[in-house]
Symmetry: D3
Subunit: 237 residues, 6 copies
Amino acid sequence: MRPSGRNLNEMRKVTIETGVTKHAEGSCLIKVGDTHVLCTATIEDRAPSFLKNTGLGWVTAEYGMLPRATHSRTRREAAAGKQGGRTVEIQRLIGRALRAGLDRSALGERQIVIDCDVIQADGGTRCASITGGWVALRLATNKLLAKGIITSDPLIDHVAAVSCGIYAGQNVCDLDYAEDSEAGVDGNFIMTGKGKLIEVQMSAEGSTYTRDQMNQLMDLAESGIAELVAAQKDAIG
Amino acid sequence: MRPSGRNLNEMRKVTIETGVTKHAEGSCLIKVGDTHVLCTATIEDRAPSFLKNTGLGWVTAEYGMLPRATHSRTRREAAAGKQGGRTVEIQRLIGRALRAGLDRSALGERQIVIDCDVIQADGGTRCASITGGWVALRLATNKLLAKGIITSDPLIDHVAAVSCGIYAGQNVCDLDYAEDSEAGVDGNFIMTGKGKLIEVQMSAEGSTYTRDQMNQLMDLAESGIAELVAAQKDAIG
Amino acid sequence: MRPSGRNLNEMRKVTIETGVTKHAEGSCLIKVGDTHVLCTATIEDRAPSFLKNTGLGWVTAEYGMLPRATHSRTRREAAAGKQGGRTVEIQRLIGRALRAGLDRSALGERQIVIDCDVIQADGGTRCASITGGWVALRLATNKLLAKGIITSDPLIDHVAAVSCGIYAGQNVCDLDYAEDSEAGVDGNFIMTGKGKLIEVQMSAEGSTYTRDQMNQLMDLAESGIAELVAAQKDAIG
Amino acid sequence: MRPSGRNLNEMRKVTIETGVTKHAEGSCLIKVGDTHVLCTATIEDRAPSFLKNTGLGWVTAEYGMLPRATHSRTRREAAAGKQGGRTVEIQRLIGRALRAGLDRSALGERQIVIDCDVIQADGGTRCASITGGWVALRLATNKLLAKGIITSDPLIDHVAAVSCGIYAGQNVCDLDYAEDSEAGVDGNFIMTGKGKLIEVQMSAEGSTYTRDQMNQLMDLAESGIAELVAAQKDAIG
Amino acid sequence: MRPSGRNLNEMRKVTIETGVTKHAEGSCLIKVGDTHVLCTATIEDRAPSFLKNTGLGWVTAEYGMLPRATHSRTRREAAAGKQGGRTVEIQRLIGRALRAGLDRSALGERQIVIDCDVIQADGGTRCASITGGWVALRLATNKLLAKGIITSDPLIDHVAAVSCGIYAGQNVCDLDYAEDSEAGVDGNFIMTGKGKLIEVQMSAEGSTYTRDQMNQLMDLAESGIAELVAAQKDAIG
Amino acid sequence: MRPSGRNLNEMRKVTIETGVTKHAEGSCLIKVGDTHVLCTATIEDRAPSFLKNTGLGWVTAEYGMLPRATHSRTRREAAAGKQGGRTVEIQRLIGRALRAGLDRSALGERQIVIDCDVIQADGGTRCASITGGWVALRLATNKLLAKGIITSDPLIDHVAAVSCGIYAGQNVCDLDYAEDSEAGVDGNFIMTGKGKLIEVQMSAEGSTYTRDQMNQLMDLAESGIAELVAAQKDAIG
């Protein structure tokens, strides 16, 4: 029995509300159960300097968490004077994931920055950031296409992510915080709309796992990601 | 004519939605026109060390702005490695303002941290933070009272704030960004529910003003703050 | 009775010695009672980048305190690795105040940096910094005029500042440290030589005040600032 | 054809020299081809504070790279004033990997710090750090056992790591820098001596992959890790 | 011919004014020509933790330079967010020098912090800091003796410092900035009142020197330091 | 009797192995007894900006210590977020020393960076860094000469360094850690191959010394440096 009463392969309820901030070129508020992340896309006219004169574009991401997104208050990273290791790791992952679905040549020499800010956390914030971040990216690139600034679509496919793990001896999909903090083995699975893999990060804390278990979790992830992609399609209309 | 078409003494529409995050002891999302600030209150069992064995409590505040709360993207302070001067100044102001309405002895040796995070900015974010921050503080202290952890109310009165200034030669109430960026003189006025003053910060950028003009702006501020206090009362029921 | 034995409206003795350091384009040591601040002005050939090609100049300020300017030793900010919130707030205030008396177009695209370093502190260091900083600025702009680098005077009027507050139930002018640390209400008042207001920052710590009280303090401030402006005139000859 | 002329499933030559520094409780210099990493283990009498009174121990890791370990000089992180995102990510991975093979209760309330410093880099430094770090950890725990400070072995099994990827359309084992910088898909595989999985991190940069491809790379990794475990056994005698 | 017209072995005029700040336990303003350094001594009740329960005391120093102490403005280290290498090197030297003349057992488990802040710089600021810092230390220890907090004098002898170098092919004493910036060889010599050596730092920038030249500079230094010690004696009365 | 059993004037065994890392333009591992330092030279096409259009080159140095180079583990400076005062002092010394033997005009407008990383420490790491750093510099400049990038040799002479001090009342050459931590007086002596002096840093911690003692230590240093120069000659063949 899962703490939330969900079935083993059952995702939390997913909603994606777009256009939630008037300034950003693309934005959405994604809710995966009680995990709420605000994702915005900013189009910048210039690509990073290492791409100068290559004709290629870039997508990067930054991740943050409001201090009271968590059960007890987390120290504000701006006050601490640096981003923690976990933050850095997550934002590198989000950027890498979104670039895997990107035709950098179609984007041209510009950069899109995806900001993912966790308003409320209940497990799976990095996966929600990727899934919501893709929607913000989609909306921003739509704007570039609509204005004729670019002429071919730089997004090859949907990108979405889910975490699955072994909780209380059973394989479960879309771990919430209660499960995540107990699971000895869990993984983040990032895939395209067509089911191709982009990134798998599956780790054990004080434990190990077999290839069989890994394959079972990947089966769960595939069905979860199909649901997330459907929610993305609903959101962008 | 104001850019928004408002009358000179007309506030923007104010809404305060409470209970917006499940973890915080008190929370609200205050919207003053297009300025949206998420305010949360965290109760900590210990007061700062300078209050040890005094029996007195403390309220402090932290302020942040999501990178794309602004028209063009603002660099994330956590990435920059420090809070800017403007941020530090604002969060000190919020804390000082809320403490002015506090009976520190009734609160006892504990601290309440008010986090004000700007989701969307359109001028007046520090005033909205104070007005919303007081609601979060009210809800958190209500919880302490309801649980019997404290027995007399530590909040003496409402605390709310509004900015007024001289825009295009005319005194206007509740400046939005379009007005704020043009006004040569503007002030932030913080008052209690009974109309007592807590803080006045009135400055001229490349300009000066007279005591008459100051008094006229204070008249505008008094009426604006009365509206904000009414909105606070609605919100806390 | 004030700790210093002064009358309620009595300023401390003010002296301003100019030319105290041979390198700076303008300098003075201002003493307001036991508060001693060394103010220097540095002329830089370039304005900040946001003024590029505008023909406008800029005045900015930095503030520091020697570690043993205070009763017990204060940690050196350079060793702590950052400027504290109080320092940042004060130096922003000094710069804003001095710019209010500045004709930026007459200055042309250059910057003058005012450094205010507190040698000994006894309350009112930010006000002394503004009053002394203006003298350093005056001397530096005189040099620009004398050399024919600029041809019309960029300083519109004197700028000076004083703090007034409510100490032991009475309105007093020019608070020293003994009064400042006890006063529940105090304000910093910045005015021009002609008595126009530049900035008012009046705050209550754990208290409130009325508009009547505010007006009484402003009356005190006006007479105190007249004395400071007289001292500035003496200093610059 | 691989740049090095190796067969697709061929590891680089692996040597592990132990006892390379006289101060550390355990140390080795691991060479995987031209990638050379110095690994040291430091035993600390105290566990991190979050383990106080739990009876459990901890293993953590830090990673660094000498400035000229790389083809062109990399800026020294101590001079830059912070560890970069890549460094933080890698040292978190090393620590997590080594803890997966650890019986924290057998170790008792103490901490072992594994320092992995790259002397020369040619791809696969994080994998070499894990494989060599385990040897340093083994030697340090042997010392604790020999001295009778602990009585049962806290190391459950060997831990080793290898990277495999798709280079020029073919699955290859143990990527060197020339391959790594070109591979669109690559993964780091961490396993125990008995072939159980600890962590899989498989990512695509601007590309995707299938589950079939993932399984083929895992087959390669299994054989590579068997070689590494054999080298570890040789080293510890 | 020296730029200042001084003879080869001629010191600049030295004055040491004591009691220049009312808060410090000891203070002086030392002027060596146009080099002016404010030195203060702060007595702290506790020694650094590495001396706990040893009965021994400590003297440490911090060094700073006001931004406009120099010909062109130097960036404020507090704003830069760290003390530069030169600052760190100098303050370590001052502390080491003053400790060489200290009976740490007579001082007992307390610390005296010497702050040396350069008000105006014209070469030789580290030497002036040592010479003036010793006077501040002397005054502070006198206070401890007068109050009976310590009963035997912790200062064994005077400590003073001078720089000598080879300028335009000739050995000169007490280099000013004009000489210092041109000298290929120069040294800082720190001695006691009785002429014992504490520290010699003699370096060549893009040049070398012989033992003969070194001995000649040390002769110059001995006579210069005798003058400085006389000035110290005058100052402390 | 010295702890190591050496004679008073006896150096530790010195070996210098060149070509130890494949990427650097010059490299060596210098071992002075149990002190082991890896020195690499990196040639950069551009000189520092202050040399722009002067035709002159520059040599600079950075110094680091692996965390477990020391008896107990030293905190990693990259993790601490800054280089300590000792590190900064040492790397400035190394750079200054190597520049003293440099014909900057023959080097032309380029920079050579010498990285000295202590693998194992047993006293005298800064001296070993200078002696080994010169070898790395020699190899890198040889490469520039061999390629015809420069045509006249920018190295005027060998540069080497040794520490001597007074241990247990006797003058000893090449202090190891056991001696260094007890010596009240010690100095670092840097000389050229022809015996000219470059830098002398001789200090007393809680003690003093005479010119006679200084001269005796310099005699010891001269003979030690002759041995080091011979080892450098062997190494570069």
